[in-house]
Structures are given as C-alpha cells and as structure tokens.
C-alpha cells in the first residue's frame, strides 16, 4: 500500500487548472533548467499524446515556459510566462509529435544555452504534479526530483563512481538511491545520486574536480 503525506492529499498549492498538465509541466521544465546549468537562449518543446492534444486549454505551454524561467508551480507569474520570457530574450516554440512516448503526458525539451551548447531532456508528468525524468541527451535515466539529487556527466571508466561516493562519505551524506547510465562502454555516462540530506555546494565542487567528471549539478527537491 502506497504511503501518502498529508500534503500529497491536501495539496499541492498550485496554479490551475490541472496538476498533471500544468503543475507537473512547470516542474519538468524547472528541473530541465537546472540540468542545463547555464543561461538559456532558446527552447523547443516537443509534446506527445495528451500533452500534444490539450496543451493550450490546460496552460501546459505557459507552465513549461514558466519552469524554464525557474518559476515554481504555485508562482502567480506562471500565466504571464510568455511575456516574461520574451522580455528576457528567451525564444521558445512548441512542436506536436505523433510519435509514441513512455507516458501520455510527455515532453522533450531541446534547450540551447547562451554558449550555444544544446541539451535534450525528456520527462513525463505522471499525476498529482509528480514527474519522472526519463532521458538526458539520449541517455536513459529515471529520477523524480523529489529528493536532493546530484547528477554527473562523466566518462565511463573505472574508479569514478568510487571517487564520487568517497566524497559523499567525507561529507557524511547518506545516499538514498544511486544509478549509473551510459551511452556505451567507455563513452559518456550519467550518475544520478539521490539523498535525504542537503548536498553542500562544496561537495559538488570537489566532485567536479575529479578526473573524468565533466560536470556535476544539484537539483533541490521541490
């Protein structure tokens, strides 16, 4: 039997009209913004299934742009996200896909940073405002953003995971869940580490300096 917190039932506080099509969409895009880890100049949102069919009536489009701007699902600026993004010089467009997707409420966010670097992030809104991130730059992942989460970009070679977990031990941070994903042997890989505790920035910076780690970011729970 699934466990519920009081505020899963009486909550979340959110901008309407739909927890899955509005609140969940904003959360997905806010997590994507964190993953990109630089100022954003352009976003293409590719929408699948129910997202593709009903996104305008549910304000999914405004919620996605709001998330890219870093707004939470309960931010009253959410309905005005288009104007605010334009003021900040962020370009955005929506594409409806008829391809199959892992869940009816799925979006792929192709995000170009100010540096010109492109990231592609795919996630699903699975109900009640909860989300699941499924793919980062072609690598399959799976995390919810409900925990303090550290995500690395690294090279798939021996010792890297041990070096990262040693830093967690040094900082006395307990690892709740941990998974490693890769393109192919020796290629680029991603580590997703979820913790119940706060991961200090200092720990992240130390991890970034490990040989073979290309980048590390922290996503705070929402």
């Amino acid at each position: 039997m699934r466990e519920y917190s009081v505020f899963d039932i009486m909550g979340p506080v959110m901008i309407g009209p739909s927890s899955s099509h509005t609140a969940g969409a904003a959360r997905l895009a806010k997590i994507a913004r964190k993953i990109v880890d630089e100022d954003i100049s352009e976003v293409e949102f590719v929408l699948y299934e129910s997202f593709a069919r009903t996104y305008r009536g549910h304000g999914t489009d405004k919620a996605l742009v709001a998330g890219i701007l870093g707004f939470d699902p309960d931010d009253e600026k959410l309905p005005h996200s288009f104007e605010i993004a334009r003021q900040q010089g962020i370009k955005f467009k929506f594409t409806e896909s008829d391809e199959e997707s892992p869940h009816p409420n799925t979006v792929k966010m192709i995000i170009t940073g100010k540096s010109g670097h492109k990231n592609s992030i795919l996630g699903c809104s699975i109900g009640g405002g909860n989300v699941l991130l499924k793919e980062i730059n072609g690598i399959e992942v799976e995390f919810t953003g409900e925990y303090e989460t550290l995500i690395t970009n690294h090279i798939d070679r021996p010792g890297i995971v041990a070096n990262v977990t040693k830093i967690f031990a040094d900082y006395k941070i307990n690892i709740a869940f941990m998974r490693v994903y890769r393109h192919s042997k020796g290629d680029k890989a991603i580590m997703v580490i979820e913790s119940d505790q706060k991961i200090p920035d200092a720990a992240k910076e130390t991890i970034k300096n490990i040989d073979g780690i290309l980048n590390a970011i922290i996503i705070n729970p929402m």
Binding site: R2, V6, F7, I9, M10, V13, G16, T22
Partner: protein, 297 residues
C-alpha cells in the same frame, strides 16, 4: 504508532489516545516525516490561506477561463446572495458560490490547493469556510478540520482512488465531499464515528458519478459539480450529527467506490469520449475552443 490504512484503524486510534481525527492525522504525519508539529500545522494554515484568497477572488472578480468556456458564474450567484434572492438559504448559497469561485480561479490559471485534486478544489473550501464563518470558528479550528478531511482522503487514496481517470467524478468530487463532510462534523464538535458516518453518506450520495469534461477541460460540468459536492457535504454532516446511521460502514463504502470506479466505462473516466463531452454541443465547443486557441485569440 499513529499510522492507519482503514477507517476502523483510524477510529481505534482516536479511542486509544482519546484524540480527535485531526490530531491523529497530525501525529501520523510527524511520525512519518520527522517534521515538527508546528511546521506541519503552519503548512496546513497556508493551505487555508490560499483557499480563502481563491474564494475572495472568484466571488469578486470577473474571471474567464483559459479556454473561454467558463467563468464569472460565482460572482453572478454571489450578487443574488447579496440582494437576498436565492432559493437556497444563505449558507447553502454561499457554500455553492464559494466552491464555484475556487474552481473558476483554477480554470483561469489562478492559485488553488489541490484538495484532493485541482478538479475538485472547490468542494472543501466552499463547505468548510462558509460553515466556519457562520458559526464564528477560528482559523485554527478550520486548519484542524483540514487535517480531519485529509485523514479521510488518505484512506480513500490507499483503498480506492482520488483520480477521475481511474474512478470517475465520484472519486474526485465524491471523495472531496466525503473529506469535507468529516471536516464539518469535527468542526461542529461531532465524534470521530460521526465524522466517518458523514463521509460514508457523502460518498453514497455521489456513487457512480461519471467524469465527462467538455473538451477535456476541468470546467463543464466540473465547476457546478464542485458546488454540489460542497452542499452534499453539509447535508451529510447534518445527517451524522443528528445521529443517523449510514448502515454501510465507511470502509465498505470506500471499497464500493473503488469497484464502481472500475466498472465505469473508459469513455466516462476523464477521456472526454462520453457523456456531456460527446453531446452535439460538447463536440462543437471542443472544436471551437481548439480552433480559437490555434488562431491565438
């Protein structure tokens, strides 16, 4: 120590510790999350604040939904109440108008509390805040009653469903109405048994209600059904406080809710493929809305 999965377990806990349902729910939350009692209480108080603000906004502003399909009806009813011309008594009419107000705020991309869902967000604030104001209850009283409502919601979520896509409108507005009914009973000083009886009545009255939103949007008929859910909660709270017996125990009613939900055809579970959504007007409105937004009007 304070965890419960079923209504009978919740009742046993209230007897064992001689506490109302609201207190058991707060203690269970503290036990589960490790958060302080004050923090938990303040979070719920913030929910109450958001609910009150949504009611004020919906009653006083001319709202329009994103689709243009609904809005402004709460204000219309409220104006009738002010002149004193409604057929229902003032409390009933205010509860209905307040429930409508919250759902119209929701549809116009305003701030609400999903209680338990965005689509049923008007029921609990509509019933609770109206009744509390009538009887001069404090914000703390209302906050406690929201925990009572949540206790009922947790049991329904664990043993049935709160999702219209899984169980139809009975699982959303029906559950919200049961949660509100129990909250009203505790607010008015009723016993934990009476809380569960009121919740049972509320579900029994709405059992089988389908989810058939026009154009797939949470507006028609959802907004008016929220008003119905709020009034149903008040009637059922009165039933329980008057000493009526629901005959079928709460846990069995919840099981029936789940089984009926399973039996509701797919077309009538939030897919907009049946019921009012598939009437000639429902089909025409859907076409018009999506053409209109397509043009960017």
């Amino acid at each position: 120590m304070y965890q419960f999965n079923h209504g009978y377990e919740l009742l046993e806990l209230t007897k064992k510790f001689n506490l109302p349902i609201s207190q058991i729910v707060v203690l269970a939350e503290q036990e589960k999350t490790g958060e302080g009692l004050d923090t938990i209480f303040q979070k719920m108080r913030n929910n109450l604040k958001v609910m009150k603000e949504a009611i004020n906004k919906g009653l006083n502003e001319d709202l329009k939904s994103v689709s243009g399909l609904s809005g402004g009806d709460a204000k219309k009813l409220y104006e009738r109440i002010i002149i004193g011309n409604t057929l229902s008594c003032e409390t009933m009419a205010k509860a209905a108008a307040s429930a409508l107000a919250v759902t119209e705020v929701n549809a116009s991309m305003g701030k609400i509390v999903a209680a338990p869902t965005a689509g049923s967000s008007g029921v609990i604030p509509g019933a609770l805040i109206t009744v509390a104001r009538k009887f001069g209850k404090s914000d703390d009283d209302m906050t406690r009653a929201l925990f009572t409502a949540t206790g009922i919601g947790i049991i329904i979520a664990k043993n049935a469903t709160l999702s219209g896509a899984e169980g139809g409108c009975q699982a959303e507005v029906g559950s919200a109405s049961a949660m509100a009914a129990a909250a009203l009973v505790e607010l008015m000083g009723g016993t934990p048994e009476q809380c569960l009886t009121a919740a049972s009545f509320a579900i029994m009255n709405l059992l089988g209600l389908v989810c058939d939103p026009v154009a797939g949007l949470v507006e028609i008929p959802c907004e008016k059904r929220n008003a119905l859910g709020a009034l149903n909660a008040m009637i059922c709270a009165d039933f329980a406080i008057a000493g009526m017996d629901s005959v079928i125990p709460f846990d069995e009613v919840v099981e029936a809710l789940y089984k009926v939900g399973k039996a509701i055809p797919y077309a009538l579970r939030e897919t907009a493929e049946g019921g009012l959504a598939k009437t000639p007007t429902g089909i025409r409105l859907k076409k018009e809305i999506f053409e209109k937004v397509e043009r960017g009007d």
